[in-house]
Symmetry: C2
Subunit: 444 residues, 2 copies
């Protein structure tokens, strides 16, 4: 890793060159580099925590002056119980994942002696823009090295001292390995962001990790593909056939287990015929957890006068990611209306249906236009660790490449290799005297 003073354009070009070397390293060489990073960070623990303490000191002053939120200060703190250890363990966890590079996903015999192979390979150069958490830098460096991608990292200014200390340790560690120094670069000036976002020739993918505003800014200001999501407007459709206890448990988990998460539920769609049967128990359970409901007239009437923590929903509430203990509630006549509502108002993140009817559940899961479609389970399961991917780059609501929680696989593309013996194309065709392709699918 290098802490670059180069211009963004030079940094990106150097990263691209390094990516071409990194792409050809063996799994062993890349894993050795991860072992070296782990050892280097372990040895530099004191310097890094001291640097982090300086960042924290400044941040606490800024918070006291009302210029920074307390939650940001908390996210900065590498000294919190377990955080340092988790960061280090994360590097070895990534190292021990299955190698994503060089996996053959298709093999076809085109003709005698002429074989086509599709092989996974790294994308190239990633630009990662993130906010406060300093441990992300180690996590991302590990993911990049493991996947054979070069990375340019831009962290938030509040963590600058921590970033520099961590990147110095990583840089020293990598200099003992086959990974080129320019493969991981740290950029510290905020002014560099617009310049980096313009470098669509050398940077292949942008991964923002931070607030909705950060992601939205990036998506609107670059032609480089962006992997991520700005919004997480998840809905649950509660049907009349759902078990009341099951429904209350799932909706309470989806709303209250981490309200600020992107996979928390923001809109509850209630089937009209469930209003006076299943819905009141769900609403009571939510009220007991302090959730404020924003109801349409029909759902409000169904609860009156038992539940009092209710406001009238405005149209905007059905387009709002509250990220708090607030839930919009809307009555719909049937499955089609629920699907139509989700496909109009949702953010293509994660949607759930609560029903005892399998056919209805399958129709819902097939029809909602979202990266996750669940039956009788909480939307909060939308997460790379929970899916068993070992690590997570982010959650994508894109319609191409990667969707939903993205693990190492999302950092890969493929290339086609052909091995021939001097084969030429002109002899193949449909006409007389022309050869035909064999197109035999081979085992991979």
């Amino acid at each position: 890793m290098s802490l670059t003073n180069a211009s963004p354009a030079d940094a990106a070009r150097a990263a691209k060159s390094a990516s071409h070397v990194l792409a050809t390293l063996s799994a062993e060489a890349r894993n050795d580099a991860l072992t070296a990073i782990h050892a280097g960070l372990t040895a530099a623990r004191d310097e890094i925590l001291a640097a982090n303490a300086r960042d924290l000191e400044l941040a606490r002053q800024a918070a006291a002056d009302g210029k920074l939120s307390a939650s940001l200060v908390s996210r900065l703190d590498l000294g919190k119980t377990g955080k340092w250890e988790d960061m280090l363990k994360g590097i070895l966890d990534v190292r021990d994942l299955e190698d994503p590079v060089g996996r053959v996903t298709l093999r076809t015999k085109l003709d005698d002696g002429l074989e086509l192979e599709r092989v996974t390979c790294p994308i190239g150069v990633l630009l990662i823009i993130f906010e406060a958490r300093p441990e992300v830098i180690a996590n991302i460096a590990a993911l990049a090295v493991k996947s054979g991608n070069a990375a340019i990292l831009k962290g938030g200014k509040e963590s600058t001292e921590s970033f520099v200390a961590i990147s110095t340790a990583i840089s020293n560690a990598l200099s003992q390995t086959q990974v080129p120094n320019d493969a991981i670069q740290l950029v510290t000036t905020r002014e560099s962001i617009p310049q980096l976002l313009a470098l669509d020739r050398d940077i292949d993918l942008v991964i923002p990790r931070g607030s909705n505003e950060l992601v939205r800014y990036i998506k609107e200001n670059t032609k480089i593909p962006v992997l991520g999501h700005a919004d997480g407007l998840c809905s649950i459709y509660l049907t009349a056939s759902a078990d009341a206890k099951l429904a209350a448990d799932v909706v309470v988990d989806a709303k209250t287990s981490y309200p600020a998460a992107c996979n928390s539920v923001e809109t509850l769609l209630v089937q009209e015929s469930a209003l006076t049967t299943v819905f009141p128990a769900v609403a009571s359970a939510l009220a007991a957890k302090g959730v404020e409901l924003r109801c349409d007239a029909a759902s409000k009437a169904a609860l009156f006068p038992e539940i009092t923590n209710i406001k009238d929903a405005t149209p905007e509430d059905y387009n709002t990611e509250f990220l708090s203990l607030t839930l919009a509630v809307k009555t719909v006549p049937d499955l089609s209306a629920a699907i139509a509502h989700i496909n109009t108002h949702g953010s293509h993140h994660t949607e759930a249906i609560l029903t005892a009817d399998q056919a209805e559940a399958e129709r819902f899961m097939s029809a909602v236009d979202a990266s996750g479609a669940y039956w009788n389970a909480s939307t909060r399961f939308a997460d790379g660790m929970r899916y068993g991917f070992g690590t997570e780059v982010g959650i994508s609501t894109n319609k191409i490449h990667s969707r939903g929680p993205v693990g190492l696989e999302g950092l890969m593309i493929y290339k086609y290799k052909i091995r021939g013996q001097g084969h030429v194309s002109a002899v193949y065709g449909e006409g007389e005297g022309k050869k035909r392709f064999k197109h035999e699918r081979l085992a991979v």
Copy 2:
């Protein structure tokens, strides 16, 4: 299909709605629609060819006035031997391909009664912008219906009458099927292109089919992902160990079998030690086919005075897609220099090495940053039909989603389904009393 007079925004919104219905149709329903399109076009043959004759008449006049190229007029002609039949056969070919929708590509048991599944599904709404060839409209409509994607089609103005006649026939045919009428829409006004390119909320992918200029214009004027390539600057690296006859055959095929194709070779890199051994035979074979060589000093000296059809190469020649019987030649000391040249000057399309040394070939194929990397085979094999994909949407030089020749698979994304029994997330974790995920990989 509808021939839309709606505004681009309304057309795109209607296509998005239709895509949600199309995505849930069974393979049988989609295949039935393709059978209906085939029958409808067959029945409307005379009207369509008459409309095409009117387009041709105007185009021939424009060509006579010097306003249109003769090759464009030729591409317009649906009456050319075999073209109509190929167009109709193409629809049935697409119908008979394996269904790309609903394929399960991952199954994981997260916990008892809680199962994760990754399933292929359509991307949503495609915008296809193409130039003269009227048969493309039938081809694209077939691909869209088969893959469950809605499509907005914008064809070149020279084929307007043909497009309208074909789309009317397709529209009548689809009205007898379960495919919603708005799923395939034809837009005829050129002014609509910038408006459509701005609709990144409703349009998920743009596929341009036409000249480099068209693709470049589209890439520069939209934030919607674009699948395709502007340039095809393919190289071949000729090493000293290559068999002279094999090398001459491959290079001649790659340069001369269809010089205007994107997968034709544009730069020949010659290993220094091959200059006086293998290279002269290759150069003679090219000269015999009328190929003009643009040589650096060393390669020119190696041919002098035997071959006369040689010009001095300028630096720009190594960045030029000639699309004609012209080939840039450059001498390089070794494999690393050849790889570095390709990764700097290439367009990430298709590159080949000619060598008898397997280790060298494997290193080349692993290191060149291109969608196709070939050993002892012509670059002209880079083609969806030749790869055995049955059909081709285009050839992508993108670094994400799809790369190389793109078949139906490139029009698909996936979603994650979870089937639970009321599972909530909060009970899982690392702490005491928390449940652990099982993460058992299941057969797909």
